[in-house]
Amino acid sequence: MFETSHSLIDQLCHESDAASWERLVALYSPLLRGWIDRYDVQASDADDLIQDVLMVLMRELPSFRHSQQPGAFRSWLKRIVINRLRNFWRARGRDGAAAAGGDVMRRLDEFEDDRSRLSGIWQQEHDQHLTRRLLEMIEPRFTPSTRQAFRRLVLDGADADDVAAELGMSLNAVFTAKSRVLRELRAIGKGLLD
């Protein structure tokens, strides 16, 4: 009588390590790379760091308990990234950090502060990145017309009447497309996006 929604978090926890590893890499490494780059890390080191962060993520995901606070997952991920970056620069000592611009630790402190501008950017980028990736992930489950209607209506912000006319659909089918895709997106993003 009730559908069971399979959130991505659930799926990651239940599938094989190899499969979930690949998904995590695909999902998060572009985002993480962008952020790690901000802290003066060379490309080769960045790869290691991304790997470290994702390892923690994979290891701890099954025990991650959503605190019911909005953005709990996002904050947790941020904390992991900051801790790894701190450890990285600490291991390089004072000279290493100084060579890299000197104030990297201060900038990490700023990032850690939940009210800083950087944290705001992180929140926006994380949610945006994840939502778009998740959309790509679920799109194949829909018919081409549903996909198109959704993209025009939601991504392009087009008028519903126009979309219906363009695609030769009825108005209610356009809204149904929006409803179905958003519902799926909510289901798969549960725990990650809220």
Binding site: M1, F2, E3, V56, E60, S63, F64, R65, S67, Q68, P70, A72, W76, R79, I80, N83, R86, N87, R90, M105, R106, D109, E110, D113, D114, R115, S116, D127, Q128, T131, R132, L135, V154, L155, D156, G157, A160, D161, S170, L171, N172, F175, T176, K178, S179, R180, V181, L182, R183, E184, L185, R186, G189, L193, D194
Partner: protein, 1007 residues
């Protein structure tokens, strides 16, 4: 949901549908409906596109481009909408932000004109729309706090009689004070618009919870419904019936508290529906059912939860109709849909009166047969066969909740009532059961207006039955959890449960013996509740305009609607229970009403309004006694109380003998007399001081061995802690506490962040002199409880004080704590005389951090602000005060004096603003008799462009009897002063150089 072309989904359902928030079943129904219903499709086009996911996906350029062409939902549109269902609701908290963002254009466009620029409220966001009216989140301008405003649908208040009814209903509802009821504050009017002001609850409807999550686990559903039953019981005791109990009217807060919404409004809708039918068809009330239902349905939605007798004649429906609706609600929480959700409204009504609901056991297999029986009894077609009162429902549900909560009735062994009972003449009786007392022995505290009656049992388990006219009102069991309950005025009998007990009552209390042994003693305790603060004409009122001292009190003259700010006072740590404000009031030529209102602030949680208005005065009646209780729940710790006098329509009001009464945890005098204790009240910071050894510990599910335990210890010294872990590693860390969270939080912080260990988020709890701590690896979130997990670094431990005596606390740098009720401060003594609470929990409030060990009273005023901001010396947090004129703040800590030391106040300050603005720091001297004086001040002006180091030495030798110094700071002029790196340094007297004062800043020492 079962829709057809004739019954359109509500606008809220449509919005939820298009945002993908409905489950498959409901979505499919709406999809099918949309295929046949053009008007719903048109409505969908008009709905604002405010979903967070949509804005995340949308191309940012598109978003900006579209802003200008937002399609507002105007009242005209609203009028053409299909019949709406239950929309009078607050959306989940994550929705609020999104709507708030859209508030400027979307909410404002449909906002009734008189509310657009209201003097009292600023409209922030629309929270929901519905048949009965729209709900807005608003900001109370003067009190700087959120409230919810429900603008009542004009149809409900379209006649003089209807307006009167609205006010009556709201006033009746406002009398309800219960944690499980959303508090209604007042009914107000602006132009033709009538609106209800109520508590803003950041929560989500139970209807949305099941929409999101589907059917709930049995224990959870029973817990929610049990809470609602407790709220209903309170209403019942006040003679009120809700008449529209349903999942949409039950809010769930993030703390897991269920609150009933919309008391009184169903009656309003019902009456309006009848009148409407009368006018249209001329038929008498209760006549053609369909006509009335259509009217009613458009306002209240479908009768999914309506008791059979209520459909026949709403007036005859009593509290048992609510019990029926609550039964349907519980059914819905467990089944995921209402018991009779198929068909038209008329079909549903018929089903309610004639059909049996589909057994829950067909739907899920984990509902105990006993629970099904409880639900069946709640939903019995005949009111006489249902539970009599909601309290009985609460008790019946208790066994399924998982944790006992109400009385001792889940006890399996038969208990017989005592043969004797005690009649207690109580004006107001509040019974409370304080969990932390119970941990020690069986103690029950009964609050009365004569003081507390403390019932202490020598054997540990006591049950007390409170009865009125032989009917049981409540049972309190010392073994079960906390219950706070209000009883109305009257005489009650207090009985002790047990068959072989002998009770003796005398003036001082009573004793109860069993077979010659004393098992219970009880005594009247008048000390518990006392005057916290009384106001005399020596106390200056905050607002001086229109206020004069007269008749032993104050006389306030208002030309029009006005709220005068009278007093703001800090609160000492309070015990849970009621506290009161009292005063005598007299009015003359007052148009409308006048009342004394109290605001109570909880650090980090905002202000809550205590309702003065339902005891509002009007006309000229001589002095009237005024007493309003405010209930503090366990763990709630107010830090500030404001008293204002509200005059709704101009006139003259006299007020005198104002006072606050309650149960402070420790009297201020006792705190000040005891010189050995820190002057500050005993806080967890104080309790932690000293060395602790680990007596029991589990690391990742493996109990530590004796040898391992021996190596684990902690030593707290002021704001530092030395932690010895496994493997002889020792860390020197700082720490921060959040004492009022549940569970309490502790943060271990590595100050230099050089070691591998980062800051660790943990929880702690005191159990007598035992300390429990749990924390996890730095990468993982804070544990929620003290249950071990198999995570590698998850630690749960029990600590006891090291047997070596606790090192005597000598203040070397700074001491922390709550400075309770300062002695009276002569005017002109301190910059802001009332702001003398120093609250450690503020250290880690979301507003930021002060230097370790330093805490500020954060005060806001119209022309003065004290806040923690970024922009300190290192760019991180600092304390900023800004404003005009001479305003200040106790920005510091309290230092118990050690006469073998000299002290210096040190820090950095930066001043910005008009030329000649000064930042000034001072040291004030106190002892148990009060404020003794203040020493020379040290100032920095705007001519000093950058951060200036200041250091000033004390003048304790001028004040030989002082036992406490309190640093303060203020600004003079118009500008901003930022303070950072504040500290008080203690120097050993015998090592001081002769030129100490000169080199350490008798006045200024600038660098």
């Amino acid at each position: 949901m079962n829709l057809n072309a004739l019954t359109c989904p509500s606008q809220q359902q449509l919005a939820a549908f298009v945002a993908g928030r409905l489950n498959v079943t409901n979505s499919t129904e709406i999809e099918q409906h949309l295929a046949d219903c053009q008007s719903c499709c048109q409505l969908l086009k008009m709905l604002p596109d405010e979903d967070t996911l949509v804005s995340l996906l949308r191309d940012p350029e598109v978003e900006t481009a579209n802003e200008g062409v937002q399609r507002p939902l105007s009242p005209q549109h609203a009028a053409t909408m299909p019949p709406t269902g239950e929309q009078l609701t607050l959306p989940p908290s994550d929705g609020v932000t999104a709507i708030a963002d859209a508030a400027d254009n979307e909410a404002a466009s449909s906002l009734p004109e008189p509310l657009r620029d209201h003097s009292r409220y600023r409209i922030m966001a629309i929270l929901g729309r519905g048949g009965m009216g729209d709900v807005y989140k608003a900001h109370h301008r003067m009190m700087n706090r959120p409230v919810a405003l429900k603008v009542i649908n004009a149809r409900l208040v379209n006649s003089h009689a209807a307006v009167q009814r609205f006010h009556r209903e709201v006033q009746a509802a406002a009398r309800l004070t219960h944690p499980n009821i959303v508090t209604a504050f007042d009914a107000e009017q602006a132009g033709d618009t009538h609106y209800l002001v109520m508590e803003f609850v950041d929560g989500v409807e139970l209807a949305d919870v099941i929409k999101d999550r589907g059917p709930l686990p049995v224990a959870e559903a029973c817990d929610y419904v049990r809470q609602a039953a407790l709220g209903l019981q309170h209403a019942h005791e006040q003679g009120m019936v809700h008449r529209d109990i349903k999942p949409q009217n039950l809010m769930l807060t993030s703390a897991g508290v269920v609150k009933i919404l919309d008391f009184g409004l169903a009656n309003l809708a019902g009456a309006a529906a009848e009148e409407g039918t009368k006018q249209e068809s001329g038929s008498p009330p209760g006549g053609p059912l369909d006509g009335r239902l259509t009217q009613l349905g458009s306002m209240m939605g479908t009768p999914d939860y309506m008791a059979p007798e209520q459909a026949d004649d709403a007036h005859s429906a009593d509290i048992r109709a609510d019990i029926y609706s609550l039964g349907c609600t519980l059914y819905c929480l467990l089944a995921g849909e209402a018991p009779f959700s198929a068909g038209s409204a008329a079909d549903k009504l018929q089903a309610h009166s004639q059909q049996a609901a589909r057994p829950l056991s067909e739907i899920r297999d984990d509902v105990p047969a006993e629970l099904e029986a409880v639900i069946a009894r709640m939903m019995n077609k005949s009111p006489d066969e249902r539970y009599r009162v909601p309290l009985d429902v609460a008790k019946a549900l208790e066994p399924f909740v998982g944790k006992p909560a109400v009385g001792g009735h889940a006890v399996s062994k038969p208990v017989l009532q005592s043969h004797r009972s005690i009649v207690v003449p109580l004006a107001i009786v509040v019974t409370l059961l304080l969990g932390f007392f119970i941990a020690l022995t069986g103690v029950i505290v009964v609050m009365t207006d004569q003081g507390r009656m403390v019932i202490q049992s020598e054997v540990g388990d006591v049950q007390v039955v409170v009865k009125q006219n032989g009917e049981e009102i409540t049972t309190i069991d010392s073994k079960t959890g906390t219950q706070v309950k209000w009883l109305s005025t009257g005489k009650y009998e207090v009985e002790l449960v047990g068959d072989d007990n002998d009770v003796k009552l005398d003036q001082t209390g009573f004793r109860m013996t069993r077979l010659g042994t004393v098992i219970v003693t009880a005594r009247w305790n008048g000390e518990g509740s006392g005057v916290i603060r009384s106001f005399t004409t020596d106390d200056p009122t905050i607002s001086q305009d229109n206020v004069e001292v007269a008749d032993g009190g104050w006389k306030i003259t208002a030309n029009g609607p006005q709220t005068e700010r009278l007093f703001e006072v800090p609160m000492p740590p309070m015990n849970a229970g009621p506290f009161f404000y009292r005063a005598k009031l007299k009015t003359e030529n007052v148009k409308g009403r006048a009342y004394l209102e109290m605001w109570v602030r909880f650090p980090g949680q905002g202000e809550f309004f205590s309702k003065g208005f339902h005891l509002a005065l009007s006309g000229t009646n001589g002095w009237a006694e005024y007493e309003i209780p405010f209930l503090l729940e366990k763990g709630q710790q107010p830090d500030l109380v404001k008293l204002n006098l509200a005059i709704e329509g101009g006139g003259t009001v006299w007020i005198k003998d104002a006072e606050l009464r309650g149960r402070p945890q420790m009297s201020a005098a006792a705190a000040l007399d005891d010189v050995d204790e820190p002057v500050a009240g005993r806080t967890d910071y104080d309790r932690l001081q000293g060395a602790w050894t680990c007596v029991d510990g589990v690391m990742g599910n493996k109990p530590l061995t004796k040898e391992q335990l021996a190596t684990v210890s902690m030593k707290f010294e002021h704001d530092q802690v030395e932690v010895a872990g496994l493997g002889s590693q020792t860390f020197k860390l700082s720490y921060a506490l959040r004492q009022f969270s549940e569970p309490k939080w502790i943060e271990f912080i590595n100050p230099d962040r050089t070691a591998d260990e980062l800051s660790i988020a943990g929880i702690y709890a005191f159990d007598g002199d035992t300390l429990h701590i749990a924390f996890d690896d730095a990468d993982r979130p804070r544990p929620r409880d003290f249950t071990p997990t198999d995570q590698h670094d998850h630690f749960v431990g029990t600590f006891r004080r090291a047997t070596a005596s606790q090192p005597k606390q000598t203040p070397s740098r700074s001491s922390t704590g709550i400075l309770t009720s300062p002695p009276s401060v002569p005017s002109g003594g301190l910059p802001v005389g009332t702001n003398l609470i120093v609250d450690p929990s503020l250290e880690i409030t979301p507003t930021g951090e002060l230097p370790n060990g330093w805490f500020a009273w954060l005060d806001d005023g119209p022309d003065f602000k004290c806040e923690v901001v970024e922009g300190g010396v290192t760019g991180k947090h600092c304390l900023q005060i800004s404003g005009t004129g001479t305003r200040g703040v106790v920005f510091a800590t309290s230092i118990p004096l050690d006469r073998t030391k000299r002290y210096a106040l040190k820090g950095r300050v930066k001043v910005e603003g008009e030329a000649g603005t000064w930042a000034v720091v001072k040291l004030n001297y106190f002892n148990s008799s009060g404020w003794l004086g203040v020493d020379d001040r040290v100032g920095v002006t705007t001519s000093d462009l950058d951060w200036k180091l200041f250091e000033k030495t004390d003048a304790i030798d001028k004040y030989p009897t002082a036992t406490l110094i309190v640093p303060t700071g203020h600004i003079e002029g118009n500008g901003t002063a930022r303070f950072d790196d504040l500290e008080v340094i203690a120097y050993d007297r015998d090592k001081l150089p002769a030129n100490f004062d000169a080199t350490h800043g008798k006045n200024n020492r600038m660098k």
